[in-house]
């Protein structure tokens, strides 16, 4: 290690700011270098000599003024505490209202969010799962289907007359009905 680095490390070690690695390197240098050891001793010597260098007495007047100021600071603090007015009702009431409003907003917000989350689910259900409808079975339905099938079959063959009622048959029916009615009334045609 360089002399300058050793001195820096010694200073930092003395102040408790030297890292572990540098501390290890410093102690290795101290073991191997006379000059490093001399620097260490010199530093300690300067420190101990410095600490016994002066008579650092302070005049009683200075100390008493500090103590007076200390007492004044405490008195002022006490006075501030005593004269501190109690908080007016509004000061206590207002925060309560603010907190209540905040809580209400929170509840409304949560409810609204829940509602928004649920609405699309209902819509999806409507689309994907339609309501089941129960239709009562109608017996005529089979006949109608059969007739429709027949009509379609005939239509495909182009024979439309096959299914139309014949005019001759209709006339026969009317005559027989009229004959029966006259018999009932005792008249002959």
């Amino acid at each position: 290690m360089k002399r300058e680095t050793i001195e820096k490390c010694l200073l930092l070690e003395q102040s408790g700011e030297l890292g572990a690695l540098m501390k290890w390197r410093l102690h290795r240098a101290l073991r191997h270098s006379v000059e490093a050891r001399a620097m260490q001793v010199e530093l300690e010597q300067i420190m101990s000599a410095q600490s016994s260098a002066d008579e650092l007495e302070i005049s009683g007047f200075t100390v008493s003024r500090i103590m007076d100021e200390g007492a004044r600071v405490l008195d002022r603090r006490e006075a501030v505490k005593k004269h501190a007015r109690p908080l007016p009702f509004f000061s206590l009431w207002r925060p309560a209202v603010v907190y209540a409003a905040a809580a209400l907003l929170l509840v409304v917000g949560i409810s609204y969010m829940t509602f928004l989350r649920d609405v699309p689910q209902i819509a999806d259900n409507d689309i994907s799962q339609p309501e089941e409808t129960f239709v009562e079975w109608n017996g005529d339905f089979d006949e109608q289907i059969t007739e429709l099938d027949t009509m379609l079959a005939l239509a495909s063959e182009g024979d439309w007359e096959a299914w139309e009622p014949k005019a001759q048959d209709t006339a026969d029916d009317s005559e027989s009905i009229a004959r029966e009615l006259l018999l009932l009334e005792g008249e002959q045609i």
Binding site: V34, Q45, S52, A53, L56, M67
Partner: protein, 194 residues
Amino acid sequence: MEHPEKEWIARYRGGDVEALGRLVEHYRRPLFGFILRMTEGRGDAEEIFQEVWVRALRNLHTYRHKSFLSWLFRIAHNLVIDQARKKKPAMSLQDENEEGQRFEEKVASPSLGPALESGGRELGGKIGRAVSMLPPEQREVFMMRMEGGVPFREIAKIQGTSINTALARMQYALAKLRETLKTEHDELAASLSQ
């Protein structure tokens, strides 16, 4: 107790003024030593020392630092700068005061009484004089570190510089002290190499 000052602060906050007295006494030496070295005389130093405590007490509710002493040093640092600005900005160490005494001679032994010039305190006296001749930034780092035990990281914050700059200032200060104390240094090196 490991940190009695914390208890004293708490007791003072609780209304015990005596606890403040203990606190002032506890920090007297490092704080006043620092201020004394950074100002031009005992009168100024005592004034600043008092002002540091007044400001600290008035702003005790804002104190959040880990180290109370570092906080006091920070206040002292600002007050020393303020005072230096109020005084003649272009004042040189070679200037003379009203009594015809050069400031250089005055700051060379700002607070050393006769007792310091004799016996086992001779080295301390030499160091004291050498420190007084250092540039303010280097002197400040040296005093905060040596008197207050303030870590370099904290010193760097107080001076508004990097930790490397604070370390370099300390190294310059030590180099100058080494020059001043060359005889002692050579004797020490010789005794270790034997």
